[in-house]
Amino acid sequence: MNYSLTILETSVIALGLALLLLDLWTPAGQKRQLGYGAAAALGLIFAFSFTSFVDPGAPATAFNGMFVQDGLSLFFKRFFLIATIIVLILSVEFADHFPAGISEYYALLLFALSGMMFAASANDFSLLFVSVELITVTFYVLTSFQRTRLASLEAGVKYLILGALSSAFLVFGIALVWGTTGSFNFAEIANSSSRETGAVFKLGLLLVLVGLGFKIAAFPMQLWAPDVYQGSPTPTTAFLAVGSKAAGFVLLLRVLFSAVPDVTAHWTELLILISAVTILYGNLCAIPQRNLKRLLGYSSIANAGYMLLGVASLTHAGQSAVLYYLAGYLFTVLAAFMVICLVTRQAGNEDISALAGLNQRSPLLAATMTLAMVSLAGIPPMAGFFGKFLLLKAAVEQGASNSAYYWLAGAAIIGVVISLYYYFGVVRAIYWSQDTTDLPAIQISAPIKAVLVACIGGMFYLGLYPGPALDSTTQAVATLKAPNATASAVNGASVVRK
């Protein structure tokens, strides 16, 4: 039993509780500054995660194998920490929109973060469910935090109803899996699933996939995303788009490739179909959108589809591509939401036309938004291009064994071309518009400026110098099983021997 493995999660929870306590002694005018303190503390925790105390080198488990600390979990924990730091700084900027309780907002972000970090380490269906609930329940509050604004409340209610429904699917699926195998633990299920191929077991797994599909907003569980993205406070939307989606993906990777790799190997066509439909649905629906956050909501569905392409390839290359894409997505999407937050603060509306003349009001914001859109569209030299390149490579690589992958790659290409239309629509709104001189310049605080520059740096770094990051994602997925990898590795080896 090794409780010290949970040190990162424990310290995040302790930080959240400390924040709630500090709130009692902080004067009302200075409460929003607590966000910077929390972000700084998370920065320390992030630095701490690189010490040998946290990183055991080899995979280690705690709580009877429920909790696992390996390369994959550490990769995602660092990912979530960076995302939360950025979201905290963004919410300091957004604080004047909240009627009250900014410290509670910070604390809830931290509790959601701890849920995500537990999810990264979940090696057991019970921890999976608890961490998913910890994330989802905090997000019910976070989405409806602007309680004087009707759209925010509506988003909260929608998220609550659909989230509760998907939790029901998830828990029912877990019950069926437990009923057939008698175990919650992924490692034990992996041993028994090779024998257990009954319909009830598979139905249970399918229901679990439905529950996780809700988190990543994959078809057919994507309906909530546009409404909730549009209605929620912008920092919440940003956190939902990055943190919650990544948590869904790490759980999906664990379940598919750690718990039931044998079943996954037979579900290739299902995964390909979900991925293709998600890509096309997200991109096609994004075309007519005028609301920026709604547009990004649909784009996040499409991006979930691209990442599922890597999952569906069932190889280590595909899994590592998912991680790489997520890393690029983090900087890109957070940068985009940060710009939206700053621009719409005065304007009040979130229409694309609010961006008009942005290059005169603030060249930095205009450049950030343009680069983020270029990266989302998958154009070099940005991170999004290299991520999409890796995903497409992983899919085309499997085309020789199953030609459905070629159709999937084709669907992805069509999706990318469609997405260019609406991403460039955003860029167009920034630069194309007639010169206007009456708009006031946008003031940007120093921390926000630093974060924007960091996001731009991250996008360029991952796009131009992918070597080190690619190595770390490849190492991170080494503990997962890859149903398709064995065959191709054997083929490759035999060719080399010739």
């Binding site: 291009f385 167009r428 630069y431 992918p466 070597g467 080399v496």
Partner: protein, 522 residues
């Protein structure tokens, strides 16, 4: 840093530098852009001069450190052989000319010059890369500025439509080609996988790719690259896009960037996939007839000068496709010469039409007339450009087109196609070019043209430069052909599986073309 790496890196450095220049320092921005592109052009000229024509391999090979991912076999390697050394020279000259004509831009100069420099760097990088990943990467990098420049500084009512059309078409083409390139990379066995063109070529030379894979990858590359080069029937983006683009963008894209697809076909598709080439090049030959004939007829009907030039440039691409489809030494060499000549020519034409548009705010040929009286220099340059477009001997275009015809003639299956192609190219081209000359240059001075003034000495620089290059290569085609031939021979040998007949014949043909040219010149 070697001169090849500097050619690529300088424009990017200048672009980063310009980002820190205050917005109202218009003169500084122009000066930096002009100086950078001039330096790049001079470096390209010395590179061309120092290139050793006897060596068929890659020269000046350089690696730019830190870029790429070693674990996937991606490294930013640069190098030139006979195929791309001329293209880089042409690209650098056109980039300098494009920077010269950018004086017409009067709003948001800072963004324009940054994008122009990024586009230049991307173009030169795409042609200089020895790594398939960066080959694609730099091309895509150059495309984004193209889209934005057309959208922001473009002209005409259909600007928005043209921007989206060109964006979607070119991205689709590029992505199809990307799938082809990835599939090509995956044909290498695990462990030996690399994007290095030299290593890939070396590997497939010893162990040809499986025929089924060739039949599947070749069309991906052919149509992907084909869309980028406005292969009929995927060409509709080109005339409209060039008609709406600002002058510098049209010059750089139509002149240089568009040749990327042709370069990719010659560099990647032909040598690596001989079986695929044999079965698909007939399709290409048929489609290129669409370019030459259909687009020629469309060009005859145009009233707008830029649409006419745009359509005629699509038609000229047909000659390059024909040269590639002929799959013999003289045809492929001719295709490369046409690429270089057409790049110089179309840049010159768009530069001149941009000058006219800047003065009259219209390119409607009905409203223009008698320009030779008002603009002796620009008008004369226009006449020369138009005649070069018809394939008049003395200009580099003639050399390339003649070689393509010889190449197509020596391929029996293409003879049927060649006759209408010649007819289309010469007759149709002459009809619309000469009609345009008559309409806008001769006759009484039109009302709108009364106020026009001829170019001052500074403005003449880009036009003189491009015309000089066209005439120089037209009279001394050996400068190009002797450099292209050894490298083209390697590619053609791989593409035909080494069964190229009578090595004496192809060698004599360029000489023949050359004597023909010099005879005409006399």
């Amino acid at each position: 840093m070697t001169s090849l790496a500097s050619i690529l890196v300088l424009p990017f450095l200048a672009a980063i530098g310009l980002a820190f220049v205050p917005r109202n320092y218009r003169f500084v921005m122009r000066l930096v852009t002009l100086a950078t592109t001039l330096l790049v052009a001079l470096l390209a000229v010395t590179l061309f001069w120092r290139f050793n024509a006897d060596d068929a391999g890659y020269q000046f090979v350089t690696t730019i450190p830190f870029l790429g991912a070693g674990s996937l076999g991606i490294q930013c390697k640069l190098g030139v052989d006979g195929i791309n050394v001329g293209l880089i020279l042409m690209g650098a000259l056109v980039a300098f000319a494009a920077a010269c004509v950018s004086w017409e831009i009067e709003s948001r100069e800072k963004e324009f010059y940054i994008l122009l420099l990024v586009m230049t760097g991307g173009i030169l990088g795409a042609f200089a890369s020895l790594d398939l990943f960066f080959f694609y990467f730099f091309h895509e990098l150059a495309l984004v500025p193209t889209f934005i420049m057309i959208g922001v500084w473009g002209r005409g009512e259909r600007k928005n439509y043209a921007t989206f059309q060109i964006t979607l078409y070119l991205s689709l083409g590029a992505l199809i080609a990307l799938i082809g390139l990835i599939a090509l990379y995956l044909q290498l066995p695990d462990g030996l996988r690399t994007f290095d063109i030299r290593e890939i070529t070396g590997y497939f030379k010893d162990k040809p790719m499986a025929q089924s894979a060739q039949h599947f990858i070749f069309p991906l590359l052919m149509f992907g690259f084909g869309i980028l080069v406005s292969l009929w029937p995927f060409h509709t983006w080109a005339p409209l896009g060039y008609g709406s683009a600002p002058t510098a963008t049209a010059m750089l894209h139509a002149g240089v960037l568009k040749k990327f697809g042709l370069y990719g076909l010659i560099r990647v598709a032909l040598p690596l996939m001989p079986y695929g080439a044999r079965s698909w090049l007939n399709v290409l030959a048929l489609l290129c007839l669409g370019n030459i004939l259909y687009c020629g007829f469309v060009a005859m009907r145009q009233k707008d000068l830029n649409l006419l030039v745009g359509n005629s440039s699509v038609a000229h691409m047909g000659f390059v496709f024909l040269g590639i489809a002929s799959l013999n030494l003289i045809g492929v060499t001719g295709a490369v010469v046409v690429m270089i000549a057409h790049g110089l020519l179309v840049a010159l034409t768009f530069g001149l039409s941009g000058y006219l548009h800047q003065q009259t705010k219209t390119l409607d040929m009905v409203q223009l007339g008698g320009l030779l009286q008002r603009l002796p220099f620009v008008g004369a340059a226009m006449v020369m450009a138009m005649l070069a477009g018809c394939g008049l001997p003395g200009f580099a275009n003639f050399v390339g087109e003649v070689m393509v015809f010889f190449g197509a003639w020596s391929q029996p299956s293409l003879r049927v196609i060649m006759v209408p192609a010649v007819w289309g190219g010469l007759i149709i081209g002459a009809v619309y070019m000469l009609r345009a000359v008559r309409n806008i240059l001769h006759g009484p001075v039109a009302e709108r043209c009364e106020i026009m003034t001829d170019a001052n000495p500074w403005r003449k620089v880009p036009f003189v430069l491009l015309l000089t290059a066209l005439i120089l290569f037209g009279f001394f085609p050996k400068l190009l052909t002797e450099k292209i031939r050894p490298s083209a021979a390697l590619i053609v040998n791989m593409a035909t599986g080494g069964d190229q007949k009578s090595p004496g014949a192809p060698q004599s043909s360029p000489a023949l073309a050359q004597t023909a040219t010099s005879d005409m010149a006399k």
